[in-house]
């Protein structure tokens, strides 16, 4: 197993490099470039632009820019932001905790709510419960995130006055768990919406498939109680593909975080990405995308490992 993991990590390195090349190239295709922003200021002369471009290293050919970036990355230097001149790694570190808090809470919510309702609707297939769950999950999957967020803000913030409508903490409270939780509730609910809906669908169909299997009939024939049949036999098997899909889907929460963080003024990496995109701040964009690529690679590996642990039919040598 250890060997397998090691090998997979080695394999991931060229993959990561390819991803960064592609991302870097795509960024160059984005029209305008980082200088367009300065351009809108009528006081900025052509000479000013040339000087800024030189200072940012944008005057060099694109492949050279990429290699310089990669060379520094290897030594742990992620470059400096064009717009704030601060080290990218510092910017990312600053935002990491906020994003992971949000992602983790949404993950837990989706798991704790999505899986049970998926199980429930599978067990009560074609019942009223199942229809309600199905209706809400399609609702959840098709609802625009912006709109859902706004509705929650208006209801819980404005109408009821129970929760803050944006931000991660009250500026005047240093640290207080309840303050943090209150701020977390709405963004986490919004971010978990899609995953909650899709995971519950997935759980439902996976469990339904397993329940139709002969070995479930075998379990019943043995004289097991229905509860045990579901728990010991059906769920254990139904969870294998669900867990795997979830592990792969976790980095996907990050892309959802870009919108959610922007709407809720949440100080995370998604917001950093959104802001940097507006300014085409290449080093920051590259930094955030590299972190995402890492996440994707790592969680794919995690998914494979979990699969191997859960399913005895898979072995890694």
């Amino acid at each position: 197993m250890g060997r397998y993991i090691f090998r997979r990590i080695l394999q991931a390195i060229p993959l990561l490099i390819i991803i960064t090349i592609v991302v870097f190239a795509l960024m160059q295709l984005a029209p305008g470039g980082p200088l367009a922003l300065y351009k809108q200021n009528p006081k900025v002369t052509g000479e000013d632009l040339a000087r800024i471009s030189r200072n940012l290293g944008l005057d060099k050919p694109v492949p050279i820019q990429y290699f310089n970036w990669l060379k520094r990355l290897v030594t742990g230097d992620w470059g400096t932001s064009f717009s704030s001149s601060r080290p990218v790694l510092e910017l990312i570190k600053e935002r990491m905790a906020a994003t992971f808090t949000l992602m983790f809470s949404s993950f837990v919510i989706s798991l704790l709510i999505g899986l049970p309702i998926g199980i429930l609707s599978a067990l009560k297939r074609y019942s009223i419960v199942d229809y309600i769950v199905t209706f809400f999950s399609f609702f959840g999957l098709s609802m625009p995130v912006f709109w859902f967020a706004l509705m929650l803000q208006l209801l819980f913030g404005l109408k009821l006055g129970w929760l803050p409508t944006a931000g991660m903490k009250d500026p005047f409270i240093d640290f207080e768990l309840w303050d943090r939780v209150r701020h977390l509730i709405l963004p986490a609910a919004v971010l978990s919406l899609t995953s909650l809906a899709s995971w519950s669908r997935f759980m439902r169909s996976s469990l339904l498939e397993v329940i139709g299997q002969d070995y479930i009939r075998t379990a019943r024939a043995k004289g097991l109680s229905e509860g045990k049949v579901i728990r010991k036999h059906a769920l254990k098997n139904a969870l294998i593909p669900v867990v795997t899909i979830i592990a792969i889907a976790i980095p996907g929460l990050f892309s959802g975080a870009v919108i959610t963080e922007t709407v809720f003024a949440w100080p995370g990496m998604g917001r950093l990405y959104f802001d940097s995109l507006g300014r085409l701040d290449y080093p920051v964009l590259m930094g955030v995308l590299t972190v995402t690529a890492f996440l994707v690679v790592i969680f794919n590996l995690v998914a494979d490992i979990i699969y191997g642990i859960l399913d005895p039919r898979i072995s890694y040598d």
Binding site: G32, P42, S83, R95, Q153, T165, T262, A265
Partner: protein
């Protein structure tokens, strides 16, 4: 038993919620929202308004620009002028008298050395400064004593005073020791001359400013704290204003006007801005070289309709590139919407109506391409209205919009404006309070050299721009600027449409709000802000 535990838990939840919601904004602080987060607190290295805003709080300048766009003394004892001898007769020497009682926020004394250092700092080639306009005109700065600054200029540069207005001065005693000016921690947490100092910056969340204990205006600032809170989403910002989670909602979009107005606890201010919306006419385009065609298009532009349908009647109609009440040519009137006249002008220019109701000349149809940044709804609406109206005079208008990046990209990057790859283009320019628009209209400023991306050249205007830049007598200069506007009114290298209006909402409990539509913004006088 279980039920009891749940009950207790729910009760506790309700109590905690109720308790934590009663946190009030009292205690001398104001929370100011802005759509973007500042990149840093140094207006030289970044051109965002957010950066400028927070620099207003922490930095100082020799002059300030007040809400009437007039220069008032700040760290200088008076505004230099020909009359008071601050500006020499030949306009090449500026002498500044500084206040003597001023300290930096760290307690170090502020002296003329700091002014000289600021100039050297900007001219340092290693610094990623956005623009050096104005500073480049200075050849030397002398400091005869600690409180006198003498500047020598290469040539007359009328806007020199504006160069030293607002957040402009950097501390020599800090930055002269810096190893890397671009990445110095000063840029994130400056030692300054402003009313506030940065207390805490939670990146992505907010910046908290507290009183500068060494501020030179005695008894100021009035507030204990100012929180600057970036909120990217407009709906969220509105909700936060409504829930009083923020006190100031800066530059909200016109489509929220009614909503915000309906809130009883806020005042809405409408402030004229330096930005003016217009339609560029590409004078290089063969179809548009004839003045009569350009005039025809201007006559066919129904500004009243645009004002009502696109800008909710809020933005005033523009007549020229000058927005300031002083510099605007008062004799000019907007072109009256007149399709008949437009048709006649086109006839004269040789564009005859065909059977299909379109105009033709030498068998060629009058088809024009109009472009703007895709997704800016007001501009897209403008294009559509023009398309309909111009069809009535036989002009076939094709809409072709671009991503903002592509639209504004530099000449080398193939930008639509700079390469002249358009016939008409809808966008806005922001100007400074000084009327000089050399980079926009002088014929030496065709891209990539400058920003004359209407590709218009007029001998007389070139001459006026150059001489007006050297004219120290404001009234004489005013006459020249008026003439430039007059010529542009006739020649129509672009159709001015509207002056922007900044919409800001302030909690009614804040006193002494004096918004300024230039980049000075709302926070220029934050030292005076007070709670009722």
């Amino acid at each position: 038993m279980r039920r009891l535990v749940t009950l207790v838990f729910v009760a506790a939840l309700v109590v905690v919620m109720a308790a934590s919601f009663s946190v009030s904004a009292a205690g001398g602080r104001v929370i100011v929202m802005n759509q973007q987060e500042p990149n840093m607190i140094n207006p030289y290295l970044d051109s965002m308004q957010a950066t400028f805003d927070v620099s207003q709080l922490t930095w100082g300048g020799m002059l300030e620009l007040d809400e009437k766009w007039e220069l008032i003394p700040s760290l200088a004892l008076e505004v230099p002028s020909l009359q008071n001898g601050g500006i020499s007769k030949d306009g090449l020497t500026y002498t500044w008298k500084l206040r003597k009682d001023v300290k930096w926020s760290d307690g170090a004394p502020f002296t003329s050395e700091d002014i000289k250092f600021t100039w050297e700092y900007i001219m340092n080639d290693n610094l990623n400064v956005v623009s050096r306009t104005g500073f480049e005109e200075i050849t030397a700065i002398e400091t005869p004593d600690k409180y006198t600054v003498v500047m020598k200029l290469k040539q007359i540069h009328v806007p020199m005073l504006y160069v030293w207005t607002g957040p402009t001065i950097v501390p020599k005693h800090i930055l002269s020791k810096s190893k890397n000016l671009n990445e110095d921690s000063f840029n994130m947490n400056p030692v300054g001359l402003g009313p506030y100092v940065l207390d805490k910056w939670e990146h992505g969340s907010y910046l908290i400013f507290k009183k500068n204990p060494n501020y030179w205006r005695k008894g100021y600032p009035k507030l204990d704290q100012i929180v600057y809170k970036p909120i990217p989403d407009e709906n969220t910002a509105f909700t936060q204003l409504a829930t009083k989670e923020i006190d100031v909602y800066q530059t909200f979009p016109t489509n929220q006007y009614k909503q915000v107005k309906a809130l009883t606890h806020v005042n809405v201010t409408e402030t004229a801005s330096t930005y003016w919306e217009h339609i560029n006419i590409n004078c290089k385009s063969p179809l548009l070289t004839d003045v009569r065609v350009r005039q025809a298009l201007r006559y066919a532009t129904d500004l009243k309709k645009l004002q009502e349908t696109v800008y909710e009647g809020l933005w005033p109609v523009a007549v020229s590139d000058q927005g300031s009440p002083f510099w605007k040519n008062a004799k000019l009137k907007p072109y009256q919407f007149d399709l008949k006249k437009a048709g006649q002008l086109l006839d004269q220019a040789g564009w005859k109506l065909g059977n299909d109701g379109m105009r033709y000349k030498n068998g060629k149809k009058l088809t024009l391409v109009i472009s703007t940044t895709a997704g800016r709804i007001p501009r897209e609406m403008t294009e559509q209205i023009l398309q309909q109206d111009w069809k009535k005079i036989g002009v076939d208008l094709v809409i072709k919009n671009y991503d903002a990046g592509k639209f504004f990209a530099t000449y080398d990057e193939g930008g639509i404006l700079d390469t002249g790859d358009y016939d008409l283009a809808v966008f806005a320019w922001g100007s400074s309070p000084d009327p000089d628009n050399y980079t926009l209209w002088h014929s030496a400023q065709f891209p990539p050299a400058g920003q004359n991306n209407v590709f218009w050249s007029n001998k007389r205007v070139d001459e006026l721009i150059i001489t007006s830049r050297k004219e120290l007598d404001v009234n004489k200069r005013k006459a020249m600027i008026d003439e430039i506007q007059q010529i542009m009114w006739e020649e129509v290298p672009m159709i001015p449409t509207f002056y922007w209006v900044n919409l800001d909402a302030f909690n009614k409990n804040i006193k002494n709000i004096k918004p300024n539509g230039t980049s000075s913004g709302n926070l220029w006088n934050a030292y005076e802000w007070e709670l009722k």
